[in-house]
């Protein structure tokens, strides 16, 4: 076939026209895999932040604020927002720092250190989300119950009084609901970041193996 021969001739002629990467450029490429995972962690953290902010903005209409005020939760809500955003921003900054650091890394041991750091940051972040969600929902539950009972007028108090066993049962049920709720939050974050963390871990193991050989 003439055409393919023509192509082959041209192909050969261009042998010397390809870019030439230096030793260092190729060397750096070997570590880029982890950096793309870390980049994804950073991106996901931002998307997640935007998602929750959007949800908050969408749900926080006047009715919501009135309800919050009625339950005397206004100060608490505002303060928890401020603290929550501050901590979230801090984590996003940390994710960004990890990403920058890993992109500029060029030796194995500091790359391994960076991978460990990144995994740690993500784990702290998940722990923070769980703890803060736990605290916020516990405080809210307390306020809701407390002010609900204050605002309700009851004629026959004895009919609404709990015995000790009833109180215990009530506490157990509330605790169970908390555990299930936090468990779901945890599961969500495990899915969101778990895959990336696993891949990072695999890269880490690979590096470790090569280091030992």
């Amino acid at each position: 076939m003439d055409e393919l021969e023509l192509l082959k001739k041209d192909w050969k002629k261009q042998e010397g026209n390809y870019p030439r990467l230096s030793y260092d450029q190729i060397y750096k490429m070997l570590w880029k895999k982890s950096s793309s995972i870390v980049k994804w962690i950073f991106v996901i953290s931002i998307v997640e932040f935007l998602f929750w902010t959007l949800i908050t903005v969408l749900f926080a209409d006047n009715e919501y604020w009135n309800e919050v005020e009625r339950l005397h939760l206004k100060e608490f809500t505002i303060i928890s927002y401020i603290i929550g955003y501050a901590i979230t921003f801090y984590f996003i900054y940390r994710f960004y720092r990890n990403y920058r650091k890993i992109t500029s890394t060029d030796d194995v041991s500091s790359l391994m250190k960076n991978i460990i750091n990144t995994r740690k940051t993500v784990k702290y972040y998940i722990a923070y989300v769980l703890i803060s969600t736990g605290i916020v929902s516990m405080v809210m539950t307390y306020f809701i119950f407390y002010y609900h009972s204050l605002n309700t007028t009851i004629e026959d108090v004895s009919a609404y009084t709990f015995t000790t066993t009833q109180w215990l049962l009530f506490l157990v049920v509330v605790a169970l609901i908390f555990v299930v709720f936090l468990g779901l939050v945890w599961l969500f974050y495990r899915l969101l970041y778990g895959i990336l963390l696993k891949r990072l871990h695999r890269n880490y193991k690979e590096l470790q193996k090569l280091e030992m050989e």
């Binding site: 055409e3 192509l7 261009q14 390809y18 190729i26 060397y27 490429m29 070997l30 030992m212």
Partner: protein
């Protein structure tokens, strides 16, 4: 020990990098995609390197791993129909004696190759690299007869693309 392995690998890859560039050229349409594929191939080669025991030539081994990477990646991406850009052929230089007719013909040829599927591209690439059927069959992991049959089909397909 590890440093030594790394050094050996990078030195080898640096020496033979043209193979990877050429595969990138067949499989990608622009510089950014070229660089991405180059990097991906580099990573895959590095991952496979500990298994490379030197019983084959480094370049032969490279052909196999690099082509496999390109084929796998290309498969993942090929969800929509790829349109081929007429001027997508990068790194082209003008021939010393500029012949517009031949130049035009070459452009058509390159764009015809871009329309082939992942496996067909690999075959054309190995053909352009002057590999014989035995080498092609080893690189692609198919029998020699199969390589021959497939190659003929690719030639017919190219002809059909060029003269519809």
């Amino acid at each position: 020990m590890k440093k030594e392995l790394e050094h050996k690998f990078v030195t080898n890859l640096e020496r033979h990098q043209n193979i990877v560039h050429k595969i990138c050229r067949i499989y990608t349409n622009d510089q950014a995609a070229h660089n991405d594929l180059f990097q991906e191939i580099t990573i895959q080669l590095w991952k496979a390197y500990p298994k490379f025991r030197g019983d084959a030539k480094f370049s032969t081994w490279m052909y196999r791993v690099a082509l496999n990477t390109a084929i796998t990646l290309y498969r993942k991406k090929k969800r929509g129909i790829q349109t081929t850009d007429y001027d997508s052929v990068h790194f082209r230089i003008e021939a010393e004696e500029y012949d517009p007719a031949a130049e035009h013909q070459l452009k058509l040829l390159y764009s015809a190759v871009k329309q082939l599927n992942d496996i067909e591209k690999a075959l054309v690439f190995l053909y352009l690299e002057d590999k014989n059927y035995k080498e092609i069959s080893e690189t692609m992991g198919i029998s020699e007869v199969n390589a021959r049959v497939k190659m003929n089909r690719v030639k017919t397909k190219l002809k059909n693309i060029l003269n519809p």
